[in-house]
């Protein structure tokens, strides 16, 4: 088929670019005739309204998204379900991409160094917690009268905690650097690894149904073998294949993003070719890129994409839920909810103190992890498409997730008070743990990286000739500096701590600890970036010294209340005059 044919497909549906012409001819109603734009518009607008409301109520955005989906789907019926985002059509594709990108992002966090750093505490307590919770959930579900397969599914779905919720809330409280925060994060990472296994198993089970035990074992074996191959490929690639080309393209930010996403989708295709889940492929792609020097910058770039795609995913998930089925079984909801919110922290309170930490750290970590995971939804969606569970279990898992995330985020925001109350009531005595453990402090001091450590430093943006000299001068005066640039080569030539990334990016400035800095300096010769930096410094109350590289930019910088203007042209002209004197022309 030639061009006209291919384009005909475009023009027949025409909606793509709106078509007043066809609208007058045909009987197309005034409403937008491209389903994608209409659906996306609805989804995003509803999600935005719900998220704004949820923020006032301190509810995590995921809960808001799913609630928005519930409104659009089951309640009003504006949108139709496409079962866990695995159907056809644009929205389904976008939500599939969303979940892939989320796992890609989780993988990007997981540098080999981070794995070592998290250490055995997270591995031991995470593993024990997941196994005990899954077993407990399974037993409880059996007791509540679920079929064994459904009970097993519920058990697994309840065992994991939500990375997105916990990271977001701890970050907001500034507790990611605390000992309990680090342990919670470590356990979440361990869980993420196990989630990937669980997803693989479920998608492996789902393909042909469960015929007999031998076949199940064989399928599991195949899945594990495929997984090993993919792990081998990604680990090998991270050290041999990827570093050179990515260092070569790294100077062009948009190209770097596209190359990384291509790598992600290539591994997804690889996973699919071996009948593994796309989530696994995306995760491993993230892990292999996490070993490269610019992984943090890449993470910040993927983050907005994830926010966009995930919102679509969770709303679509809400659309496909059937809460009515779950409300019919409210005793089960209450029992399982109690299990998630009490049982899971209890397991951690029992395990973590045995590893050298105190009751306080264990209690706070436990309270932090008392919810189910966004992956429970993914898992349930997969299970439904695979025919392993029915819509009732799906909606049960959905309602449990919504309730536990909503409740636990309220708890996390007050975790210290809740812990003190529980302790005062004497409820924690059964764990017989010491209040302070011998390792409590070690971990929090060993925390490397930018978060929470940098204070009273000078942030210098733009490592050109000016920025580099300023950093060198400040360091020779014993000042703490943090150098920022987009170019890894330029950062390599600067002494002291550095951060790779774009200074227009708010997350980068957060990572740079801008709000705790004593001064921010920009040597950049980019008007927009300088103005934005000046504006943000002023909002945070941090003094700013900005490079006024040309007369035309001075006025705006003054208006933005910049503390000090670095006028390089005048300084240069002045130096010319001095050089003239040295030349013997004057005096």
């Amino acid at each position: 088929m030639g061009v006209p044919g291919r384009l005909q497909a475009l023009s027949l549906e025409a909606g793509g670019l709106s078509s007043p012409a066809t609208r007058t001819d045909g009987a197309v109603p005034a409403m937008y005739d491209d389903p994608l734009v209409r659906e996306l518009g609805l989804i995003l607008a509803t999600a935005a309204v719900f998220a704004l409301l949820a923020r006032r109520l301190h509810i995590p955005t995921i809960v808001a998204y799913i609630a928005a989906g519930l409104l659009l789907g089951p309640v009003t019926g504006v949108l139709q379900a496409t079962h866990g985002g695995h159907g056809a059509g644009g929205v389904a594709l976008l939500s599939e991409v969303g979940i892939a990108l989320l796992l890609f992002l989780v993988g990007l966090e997981l540098s080999f160094a981070a794995i070592r750093e998290v250490g055995w505490v997270a591995v031991v307590s995470g593993t024990v917690q997941v196994l005990v919770s899954a077993g407990g959930g399974f037993a409880l579900s059996l007791l509540l009268g679920f079929a064994p397969l459904h009970a097993a599914f519920l058990g697994v779905a309840l065992a994991f905690s939500s990375t997105v919720v916990v990271v977001k809330l701890l970050d907001r409280r500034g507790d990611l650097g605390e000992t309990y925060g680090r342990i919670a994060l470590g356990i979440l990472l361990v869980q993420d690894l196990m989630v990937v296994v669980a997803l693989t198993v479920v998608s492996g089970l789902g393909r042909e149904g469960v015929a007999d035990a031998a076949q199940l074992v064989r399928q599991l074996g195949m899945a594990l073998a495929g997984m090993l191959v993919l792990v081998g490929v990604s680990v090998g690639a991270s050290t041999r294949l990827l570093p050179r080309p990515f260092a070569w393209i790294g100077r062009s930010p948009e190209a770097l993003l596209v190359w990384s996403l291509t790598w992600c989708f290539l591994l997804i295709l690889g996973a699919k070719a071996m009948d593994l889940s796309l989530e696994l492929g995306a995760f491993l792609a993230g892990v292999s890129l996490a070993q490269l020097p610019f992984n943090q910058e890449l993470r910040r770039r993927v983050d907005p994409l994830v926010n966009f795609f995930l919102a679509v995913f969770f709303v679509a998930l809400g659309v496909s839920m059937d809460p009515a089925a779950a409300w019919g079984n409210w005793p089960a909801v209450l029992a399982l909810l109690a299990f998630v919110m009490i049982g899971k922290p209890a397991v951690l309170l029992a395990v973590i103190p045995r590893l050298g930490y105190g009751e306080r750290v264990a209690g706070l970590a436990g309270l932090t992890l008392a919810q189910t995971s966004e992956f429970s939804f993914v898992l349930a969606g997969l299970g439904l498409t695979a025919g392993l569970i029915d819509a009732e279990v799906l909606s049960l898992i959905g309602v449990l997730g919504l309730a536990s995330m909503g409740l636990s985020s309220a708890v996390i925001l007050r975790s210290r008070r809740v812990y003190a109350r529980l302790r005062a009531l004497g409820l924690l005595r059964i764990f017989r743990a010491p209040h302070e453990g011998r390792l409590d402090r070690v971990a929090s001091e060993a925390r490397p990286g930018a978060v929470g450590v940098l204070r009273g430093h000078v942030v210098v943006v733009g490592m050109n000739a000016l920025g580099r000299r300023i950093v060198e001068g400040l360091r020779s005066r014993g000042e703490g500096t943090l150098a920022i640039d987009l170019d890894p080569d330029k950062l390599a030539r600067v002494p002291g701590p550095t951060l790779l990334g774009n200074a227009e990016d708010l997350q980068l400035l957060e990572a740079a600890g801008l709000r705790h800095a004593k001064l921010v300096v920009s040597a950049l010769q980019i008007e927009d970036a300088n103005n934005l930096l000046a504006y943000r410094a002023r909002t945070l109350g941090v003094p700013a010294a900005i490079h006024a590289f040309d007369r035309s930019v001075v006025e705006d910088l003054h208006r933005l209340g910049v503390t000090h203007l670095i006028d390089s042209k005048t300084a240069g002209a002045r130096r010319l005059g001095e050089a003239l004197r040295d030349e013997g022309v004057y005096g």
Partner: protein, 530 residues
């Protein structure tokens, strides 16, 4: 999934090729998408979704940049150059398209596609030359912003034409009203609302995207094309600091969808016929031959000197990503043939690839020699034993005062008529001319000077000066160490502005560290006086 993976793979190849050849990525993305179309693996449905989302984000971001404050004093110049270039090129394009045997409506489409120049390409070259904030850089930027807005306003006119002049005018009117409302009302209102909401990144993206889609639906209700809604949504968010905040968060999303857009655009193209190729060559030649002299003329009229005027012309001599938007609009509405769309895409690919090769110093200097008004009238007797100051803009003036105290005669060489007039007023002999022209340098007595000082904005512009200045020491202000080394290698004496500025910053820091902010504010006043 396979579709996305394939498009991304094509984009990866496109970016790689562009990086290796140091050329703009856009043409290579389209070409990679075109190559991909031969695999036949990308479905039309998926391509349509990719095109819709891609075009939406692309145009939205263009609207986001529409901030006249960035043009400073070049607003009127940009208005003059932008509208006249738009009109002349449109008329020439229309005539050429008719001459190439197209029907009038198609010819109007082609003409509109030819009028706009590419922001992506021109801004990239200006950034590489570090001249985005020079007066002529701001002029080019202004012309680009104006043309983007004009094209978006004219698209509804064009798509409405088959339904009669009335419908077309109504469409354009509605677009104008929408743009006006968002410019006057929302642009002032939204920053306050967003500041009041004080959103984190996640919510900001959601709110911005809902706004975008709301405008899309609104545009649709008004019977306007999608792109108008997307552009107006961008305009509504284009005031500082909202635009910067939004841009920071939207960049990855736009990067992703633009890559997908350009590759999927390539994938919808067919193999162009021989006629299409010839037509494309003819139209590309029109753009490349008409724009530079036209813009040069206009820019000089607006007060720019010859070299920046010529560079502006070269920088604007290509068609735009908006030309692709225009073409796509026409082909989707069945108002132009896919063949014509291919022609538009080909013209864009050709001219965009040419620009970075043309808009350089070599071509500019060659054209400068053809320039009819070479103002460097040879002075009857070049001075001797004088201090020659080359480039005396804002920061050269204080230096001039220092020099006036000295015993040696002075001479100033600058290409800006205003500067030359000011210097002459101060009683200093001044020559207006281009410092890269050996004849001009001779008449300024560069080879007979006691000492030469240069404050030219681009250190590399000193090449001719360093060659001309015989035995006289040449002190050159430079910013980068690399430039300084280059100047040394050519026998000049670099004076590092970056070093001097860092020194002055550290002096300020030593005095100011640990003091209250009020004290620091006085510093600003002091610095300003300099």
């Amino acid at each position: 999934m396979t579709g996305i993976a394939l498009l991304l793979l094509a984009a990866t190849a496109g970016f790689g090729a562009a990086r290796a050849l140091r050329l703009p990525a856009l043409p290579f993305l389209v070409l990679a998408g075109f190559a991909l179309s031969f695999t036949g693996r990308v479905e039309a449905d998926f391509l349509q979704d990719a095109l819709v989302l891609g075009i939406t984000f692309l145009v939205f971001v263009a609207g986001l940049e529409l901030n006249p404050a960035r043009l400073h004093r070049q607003k009127r110049a940009a208005l003059l150059v932008g509208t006249v270039q738009f009109g002349v090129l449109g008329a020439a394009g229309f005539a050429a398209a008719l001459g190439l045997g197209m029907d009038p409506h198609t010819a109007v489409y082609v003409a509109l596609a030819l009028t706009a120049s590419s922001t992506l390409v021109a801004v990239r070259v200006l950034q590489q030359r570090r001249e985005l904030f020079e007066p002529y850089g701001r002029l080019v930027l202004g012309v680009l912003l104006l043309q983007d807005a004009l094209v978006v306003l004219l698209i509804p006119l064009l798509t409405g034409l088959p339904r009669g002049i009335g419908a077309a005018a109504a469409g354009a009117g509605a677009a104008l009203v929408l743009m006006g409302v968002s410019w006057t009302l929302l642009r002032a209102l939204l920053p306050r609302i967003l500041a009041w909401l004080s959103l984190d990144e996640e919510l900001l993206i959601l709110v911005v995207l809902s706004l975008l889609f709301a405008f899309l639906l609104l545009a649709d209700r008004l019977g306007l094309p999608l792109v108008v809604g997307a552009f107006v949504a961008g305009v509504a968010l284009s005031s500082f600091p909202v635009n910067g905040v939004v841009r920071g968060q939207m960049t990855p999303i736009t990067d992703f969808f633009s890559a997908v857009f350009f590759t999927s655009l390539g994938a919808t193209l067919g193999m162009p016929s021989g006629t299409a190729l010839l037509q494309a060559l003819a139209l590309a030649a029109l753009v490349v031959l008409v724009t530079p002299p036209l813009v040069t003329l206009l820019a000089e009229r607006a007060g720019h000197s010859a070299r920046p005027a010529i560079l502006s012309g070269l920088l604007l001599s290509q068609t735009s990503e908006f030309s692709l938007v225009v073409g796509l609009q026409g082909v989707v509405l069945n108002q132009i043939l896919p063949e014509t769309f291919s022609v538009i895409v080909l013209v864009t690919l050709l001219t965009m690839t040419l620009t970075p090769l043309l808009a350089g110093d070599r071509v500019t200097l060659a054209l400068l020699r053809l320039h009819p008004t070479r103002w460097g009238r040879p002075e009857p007797e070049p001075p001797e034993g004088h201090v020659l100051l080359v480039g005396c803009g804002g920061t050269g003036m204080p230096l001039l005062e220092t020099l006036l105290i000295g015993p040696h005669p002075l001479m100033v060489l600058d290409d800006d008529p205003a500067v030359v007039a000011r210097v002459r007023e101060a009683g200093v002999p001044a020559l207006r001319g281009d410092a890269s022209d050996p004849a001009v340098l001779r008449s300024a007595g560069a080879d007979r000077a006691r000492v030469v000082l240069s404050t030219l904005g681009r250190p590399r512009d000193n090449e001719a000066l360093l060659a001309a200045a015989g035995s006289a020491p040449v002190l050159v202000r430079a910013f980068d160490d690399e430039d300084a080394r280059w100047i040394s290698a050519l026998g000049g004496r670099p004076v590092l502005a970056s070093e001097a500025a860092a020194g002055r910053f550290l002096e300020w820091f030593d005095r100011g560290a640990g003091r209250r902010e009020d004290d620091d504010l006085e510093e600003v006043e002091q610095e300003e006086v300099l």
